[in-house]
Amino acid sequence: MPTILSIKNLRKSYKGGFEALKDVSLDIEEGEIIALLGPNGAGKTTLISTICGITMPTSGTVTVAGYDIITGFRAARSMIGLVPQEIALEPFEKVINSVRFSRGLFGKPRMDGVVEDVLKRLSLWDKRNAQILELSGGMKRRVLIAKALAHEPRVLFLDEPTAGVDVELRKDMWGIVEQLRADGVTTVLTTHYIEEAEAIADRVGVINKGEILLVEDKDKLMARMGKKQLEVQLTAQLGAIPDALSAYDLTLGDGGHTLIYSYDTKSERTGITRLLKDVADAGLSLRDVVTRQSSLEDIFVTLVSEKGERDQ
C-alpha cells in the first residue's frame, strides 16, 4: 500500500520550552487503521493538531499524499477530516446546516446527496432538522464525525472518539470505522482505551512524553510481546515449588494453590506437555488448568515502564 501520510522529524515546542513532540517520524499507509496509544499528556492530540493545521510545527515535515502541510496546505488539508476530542458545535445550528457548512468550508460545492449519505450512515438523517443543543452527547459525537466526513476526506483523524461514550455507541463507532476502511479511508485513531486499538486497529503506535516508542502491526506485536501463562490449580496447598519442578520457570500463586508457568506462544515447543507430566509425577493432583494471554494493555504498560526505567 502506498504511503498517504508521512511525518518526518516532527518537533513541537511551546513558548515555555515544553517539548510536546520530540522528533516524531511515522509513515501511514493508505487504507489502514492505525491506533496511537498513550497516556494523557503523551502528545497524541498535539500530533494530530499539528498535522491538521491547528498548531504550527517547530521543525520537521508532514506530507499528505505528497502535499506538504505548510507549503501545500490547501491540498493537504482538503484530504483530511478531523473529529476533535472535545465536543465543539454551534448549539443553535441545525444538524444538516452544520454538516453543509463543514463541506463548504473545505471548498466542496453543495451536494445534498453526499450530505444525506453521510447523515444516513451515521443514523442522523431523522435528526437532520434538530438543533444541536437538542441532541444527546452520543448524537453530538456522531455530528462531529459527519462534519469531518462531509468533504469526503481520504484520511480521518479520530481524537479519542469514544471517551465518555457508552459501550453500545463505542461498538457503533467501531462499525463506522470499519465501514470507512471498506471505502478506502485511512483512519488515525488516538485512544487510551487499549480495548479499542485491539478491536479495530491494523497497526498500533505507542506514544509517550512526545516520543513514539513503537509502531507495529497489532497482531505481530501481540505475538512478539504477548506472553501466555498457564495456571495449574492444585487441590493441595504448596509451601514451595517442589525440587522435581525446579527446571521450570514457575511461580506460586493464590497462596500456594496455583503454579504459574509463563511461555512463549511463538516457540515450537511450549513445554506444557512435559510440565504437566512432571507435575503428575511429582504427585500433585490438579483441580483445573487455565491459560491467559496478555492484552495490549499489559504490553503498553510494560513498554512505558521499560522506557521510564531506561531514562532513569
Binding site: M56, R74, L82, L89, N97, G104, P109
Partner: protein, 253 residues
C-alpha cells in the same frame, strides 16, 4: 482563493443574523426611533436649526453612523469570538483556508448586517423627519467604508479578546465615548473653542462630518479630510489583519 469557503462562512453568519432577528434587527431600529422621539421631537422642537438644517434631520447621519459603527464592531467581534469560545474555531484552522478568507467571510457578513441596519434606520427616519440626500453616491461610499472598516476593527477585537469582558471593553470604553463626542447630535462649531480643538483629535468627527456632508452639503471638516480619515482607518485595520495573517497572533500556537 477558496470562494466556496468564504461563501459558506458568510452564509452561516447571515443565517445567524436572521435567526436572531429580534436582537439583531428590531432592537437597533427601536433605539434609533427612541432617539428621534427624544432628541428629534422633544428636545429638537426647542432648537431652531443647526447649519441651516432642522435639528431632527441634522441628527440622522450621526444616528446612522453611531448605530452602524457599534453594530459592525459588535457583530464582527462576536462573530469570530463565539467560535473561539465554543471551540469550533479549530474547524476553521483545519480547513483549507487562509486567514484572509476567514476575515472576508466574517467581516464581510458583519459589514453587510450593519449596512442593512443603517439602511433600515435611514428608511425609519423618513417617517420622523423631512430628509433629502444631497450627494447619494458619497453617502453610499461613506456608509460602505465605515461598515467595512469597523467590521475589520471588530474582527480584530474578537481575535484579541480572551473573554467576554474584553470583548465589551473597547466598544464600551473607547468607541461609545468617541462616537458620542464625535458630533453625532451636534455640530462641532457649537462647542467652545477649546473643545473644538480637542474634537479634532477624535477620528469619529471626520467620519460623521463627511457622512453629514453627503446628506446636507455642510460639514465640520473638509470632505477630503474625512475621506482621508476613513481611508487611513481602513488601512490601519488592514495592516493589523495582515500582521495577524503573517504571525498567527492569537490564532495558531
Amino acid at each position: 482563493m477558496n470562494r466556496t469557503a468564504i461563501a459558506a462562512i458568510y452564509r452561516n453568519e447571515m443565517a445567524r443574523f436572521f435567526r436572531t432577528l429580534a436582537q439583531s434587527f428590531i432592537s437597533p431600529v427601536l433605539s434609533a426611533s427612541l432617539y428621534f422621539v427624544v432628541f428629534g421631537a422633544a428636545i429638537g422642537s426647542r432648537i431652531d436649526e443647526v447649519e441651516g438644517v432642522s435639528y431632527g434631520a441634522f441628527i440622522v447621519p450621526g444616528l446612522i453612523m453611531l448605530t452602524v459603527m457599534t453594530q459592525a464592531i459588535s457583530n464582527a467581534s462576536f462573530g469570530i469570538y463565539f467560535p473561539k469560545f465554543i471551540g469550533t474555531f479549530n474547524e476553521l484552522l483545519s480547513a483549507p483556508l487562509n486567514f484572509l478568507e476567514i476575515v472576508i467571510g466574517y467581516a464581510g457578513a458583519a459589514a453587510t448586517k450593519s449596512m442593512f441596519i443603517g439602511i433600515i434606520i435611514l428608511i425609519t427616519s423618513f417617517f420622523f423627519v423631512d430628509l433629502q440626500i444631497a450627494h447619494p453616491l458619497a453617502m453610499v461610499v461613506f456608509l460602505v467604508l465605515t461598515c467595512v472598516s469597523f467590521a475589520l476593527f471588530g474582527f480584530i477585537i474578537g481575535i484579541w479578546a480572551g473573554n467576554f469582558e474584553q470583548l465589551q471593553l473597547i466598544p464600551l470604553l473607547v468607541i461609545t465615548p468617541l462616537v458620542f463626542l464625535g458630533g453625532s447630535f451636534y455640530s462641532i462649531s457649537m462647542l467652545p473653542p477649546v473643545w473644538q480643538t480637542i474634537s479634532m483629535f477624535n477620528p469619529v468627527v471626520y467620519l460623521i462630518s463627511g457622512f453629514r456632508w453627503a446628506f446636507f452639503g455642510v460639514a465640520d471638516v473638509p470632505i477630503g479630510l474625512s475621506l482621508l480619515a476613513i481611508g487611513a482607518f481602513t488601512a490601519a485595520c488592514l495592516g493589523v489583519v495582515a500582521f495577524i495573517f503573517k504571525t498567527g497572533w492569537r490564532i495558531r500556537q
